[in-house]
Amino acid sequence: MKTITFTLNGRERSFDIEPDETLIDLLRRSNLTGTKRGCDTGMCGSCAVIMDDRAVNACILFAFQADGRTIETIEGVGDFDSPHPLQTAMADTGAVQCGFCTPGIVMTANALLRQKPDAAEEDFNQHLDGNLCRCTGYVKIKEALLSCSARAADKGDA
């Protein structure tokens, strides 16, 4: 057992962890169940969270790797009274079918847009290449993501 401390959704938190515990297990047992387990091998992106500035797969990170860092999960980005624009866009375009992949997609796209607010289609394609969705065929997801880029606002077709 080891104690680690990191910033979780804006608050400094300490956790007792097993040395081989994964970040997804730590988050989910801490009632942050918005981070989903789809494959446990880093191949589906359902467990994407933001570590410092980057989207990472929580299922292939050890919890101790979060020590001293900043972690943001889906629960940290929005709520009913103040949803993140990506969450609103996903909901309004019909990009949420079963919704299981949605938190991972929101977190991955969120990390991209923070680095590059005017992300282009190519940027989304590249950054979301690790996020699987089986329901939508990505058409509505693409529409939702593009509508959140500053580029779309410039063109007036947001």
Partner: protein, 782 residues
């Protein structure tokens, strides 16, 4: 009923659960796992075909932290089917909770429930098993040989409806149907074709794998929370398997992380229920992704022979389709999937001489189950490839050939009566069909007119255009039943309690829209609670493209009944006759003159003021028709003739689903199904070694497309009005997956002259066929 302007239906409103899901609120089974739940892990067979000669569980049982070990020696042995179907099931009873015979690599040996995953995994290693290894059966053709090893040699294996079932011959199902005379039809033809086609294994890949948990409440009832498409069938089959009364079980379905048919199956629930009973602790079992691939369910691979005949003028004179499916280690959905291969494709084109032979055989490979498309995906590949091949032979444009032969509004087909789901079907005339407009709109969008023969194409990269026509059904007529309860609250809102099972499709929203439309209120007034066997009335569940059409009629009926009660109370309050009133915008108003009361006032009056009663009702619905949705798919591909790589440039899906109750969700059903079909056509496949072990059970080696692979995709909803459906609606969920395999096969042929009759169309296969001058010898794949 006629077309009219709608207030709630046919509007792209926000899906009612979309925001909570996007926010990551606790929604799915795994999100509700109790902190003290025991973790279940399963020891599985390393052999495709074997008998356990000895098993010693003592090392696991005595391990600290282990609470129970289940194996064939300490659970009831009750033959059942894992198929979540109506009772009596058309699938054979050939499965046990645990057995001493192993029928595939991944079969259940023993389950452990322990305090942690780590302890459970360690306990599995402590179970000592010895096997007598038997010869495995790994191909359809091998299963049918005389003297083939018998996979289901247990005496209990039986069919529970009167259908052919011969497990001693590895035959899990058989159906034979003839209309007219196939041989005569072939003789009358100017041109005939006779080809074999093979559909390969694939998995649904819901991003949430199968997951279930259970606990025993203070009344000794088992509460199962599970990711299922069939909560009521689940309750019935778990009761049967554990030999306990149905009343002792409650099944709750929370949000589901995708199903696509995989969760129309009792895969985990029998074991979690048994473990809860044994341990009296909450228990939790979640499949790993590898287990999802191997031990849940798959698309039935199918070996097909198709004979078609046509006259030079384009008249189709003969259609002979033989389908033999590999149903794997159990016969789940084997009969009905293969029946659908006939019944969902043969009526599409008019013909007097039709023969259909369907069989399902056991092998020692993963089990087939329900998978979006349900047999039609398989036969559509053969049929729509063959339509192109035959059009070539008679010198007709393949679009014209289809357009002149396809079924139209007002037509019927003898196939509807001849072929049902494991029994005779139901006569029906087509009451809505806009396939002709689908073809026209899709052809325009893809640029069909610019399509040139492959012989005119040169260079490394060659483009080609292909098409396919499709039909499906909407629920299983005279079998499927759905029901709903509706009750009114003080603020004029309504609780809609349904057995219908939203597996991510948005059916909760669609059904709430139908309810709100019928009630004359808004979507936000409908509080949906779906699928809890203690709380909601029965529904067969989410399968057979039934929910919008069938459950939609159930909710419309109950809303109609409730609106009559509302009018009656309104009449009391306004001191007039109900016939003088109408409902408008959540109010009851006089048709003439002044006077109105709001829904809220009506609810308050009925609860607290006079003649008190609960405004509410229950309604059931069975359907007598299964109106097919229709679709025309078009695709443009680019073949790299140096490498054989196929790239989809553009995909157009034009679909007639009647009135789209929620146009965006309907488009989403088409797009998701098409994308799944494209991956199935090009990349998805199971690789097995010669001992039947799957080699690529992970997303690294089993390729699903991602955002970056998305081609230009165009969905065209061509509305029709299906008069038997709720507000004119038919189904839309399955049909889209059937198009990509044949449309892409036809486009590859149009690009470079290569004709592939076995999927997936990998670069290697295309390249080999190019080297061989267009075709490679047919062989049964996996």
């Amino acid at each position: 009923m006629s077309k009219r302007n709608f207030n709630v239906v046919n509007k792209p409103l926000r899906k009612i659960d979309a925001m909570s899901l996007a926010l990551g609120k606790p929604s799915y089974v795994g999100d509700f796992k109790p902190a003290d739940a025991l973790i279940i892990k399963m020891l599985t067979s390393p052999h495709a075909h074997a008998r356990i000669t000895s098993i010693d569980i003592s090392g696991a049982e005595t391990m600290p932290g282990v609470h129970a070990v289940l194996y064939y020696g300490n659970v009831p042995r009750i033959a059942h089917t894992t198929a979540g179907q109506g009772y009596p099931e058309p699938s054979p009873y050939d499965t046990f909770m645990f057995d001493s015979k192993m029928r595939f690599v991944g079969d259940r040996v023993a389950a452990v429930a322990a305090e942690t995953t780590k302890i459970a995994e360690a306990a599995l290693k402590a179970i000592k098993v010895e096997y007598e290894v038997l010869q495995p059966v790994l191909r359809i053709q091998d299963a049918m040989k005389d003297g083939a090893p018998v996979i289901h040699d247990e005496p209990e294996a039986r069919a529970v409806i009167p259908v052919p079932y011969e497990p001693k011959k590895n035959m899990a199902a058989k159906v034979d149907m003839e209309i007219g005379d196939l041989e005569k039809g072939l003789a009358e033809a100017d041109e005939t074709i006779d080809f074999q086609y093979y559909n390969h294994y694939a998995q649904h890949c819901p991003i949430e794998p199968h997951v279930s948990m259970a606990w025993v409440d203070r009344e000794d009832r088992i509460i199962i929370t599970t990711s299922t498409q069939v909560p009521f069938h689940c309750r019935r089959i778990v009761a049967q398997t554990l030999d306990i009364p149905v009343r002792q079980i409650r099944v709750i379905k929370p949000r589901i992380g995708g199903g696509f048919g995989a969760k129309q199956e009792i895969v985990l629930e029998d074991v979690v229920a048994m473990m809860a009973l044994r341990t009296k602790r909450p228990v939790y079992w979640e499949y790993t992704r590898a287990e999802e691939f191997i031990s849940s369910r798959t698309r039935h691979p199918m070996l097909m022979r198709l004979r078609l005949g046509a006259k030079k003028d384009g008249t189709i004179t003969a259609m002979g389709l033989d389908c033999t499916s590999n149903t794997g280690w159990n016969g789940s959905q084997g009969l009905t999937v293969v029946c659908n291969s006939g019944s969902k494709m043969l009526p599409l084109y008019r013909c007097d001489n039709i023969h259909f032979l369907g069989m399902a055989v056991y092998t020692n490979l993963p089990a087939g189950g329900a998978y979006r498309g349900y047999g039609a995906t398989q036969s559509a590949f053969a049929f729509e490839s063959a339509m192109d091949e035959l059009a070539d032979k008679i010198g007709m444009d393949p679009l014209q050939f289809r357009a002149m032969n396809h079924i139209k509004s007002g037509d019927t087909s003898p196939v509807f009566r001849a072929l049902g789901e494991g029994r005779e079907g139901v006569d029906q005339a087509i009451t809505s069909c806009e396939l002709a407009r689908c073809i026209k709109a899709g052809a325009k969008e893809i640029g069909w007119k610019k399509r040139k023969p492959h012989t005119s194409k040169k260079g490394r990269y060659r483009r080609g255009i292909g098409m396919a026509c499709l039909m499906q059904g909407s629920a299983i007529p005279e079998i499927d039943m759905g029901a709903a309860t509706l009750k009114m609250n003080e603020d004029g809102s309504f609780n809609l309690l349904m057995g219908a099972t939203d597996l991510g499709t948005g059916s909760d929203t669609v059904l709430a829209q139908i309810t709100a439309e019928q009630l004359g209120t808004t979507l936000d007034k409908i509080i949906v609670y779906s699928s809890d066997t203690d709380m909601t009335p029965f529904d067969v569940g989410a399968y057979a493209s039934s929910t919008t059409y069938l459950s939609g009629q159930a909710v419309q009926n109950v809303a109609l009944k409730v609106s009559k009660q509302i009018l009656k109370v309104g009449a009391d309050m306004l001191d007039c006759k109900a016939s003088e009133l109408k409902i408008k915008d959540s109010k009851v108003v006089r048709k003439q003159g002044d006077g109105e009361v709001t829904f809220s006032e009506i609810a308050l009056y009925s609860m607290y003021s006079a003649n008190q009663f609960q405004i509410g009702d229950i309604s059931s619905k069975i359907v007598h028709h299964s109106p097919p949705p229709f679709a025309a798919h078009f695709v443009e591909v680019e073949v790299d003739t140096y490498t054989g790589h196929v790239r989809v440039v553009k995909y157009v899906a034009a679909a007639d689903c009647g009135t789209p109750i929620h146009p965006r969700l309907a488009e989403g059903q088409v797009e998701g199904a098409v994308m799944n079909g494209i991956c199935y056509a090009l990349t998805e496949e199971y690789l097995f070694n010669d001992k039947g072990r799957m080699l690529n059970a992970n997303f690294g080696d089993y390729k699903l497309y991602t955002l970056s692979d998305l081609p230009e995709m165009k969905t065209i909803l061509v509305p029709s009005y299906e008069k038997t459906g709720p507000y004119g609606a038919k189904s839309v969920a399955e049909i889209g997956i059937n198009g990509p395999l044949p449309a892409i096969a036809n486009a590859i042929h149009n690009a470079c002259g290569v004709r592939l009759r076995t999927g997936p169309f990998t670069a290697e296969k295309v390249w080999r066929a190019l080297q061989a001058g267009g075709e490679i010898p047919f062989e049964e794949g996996h």
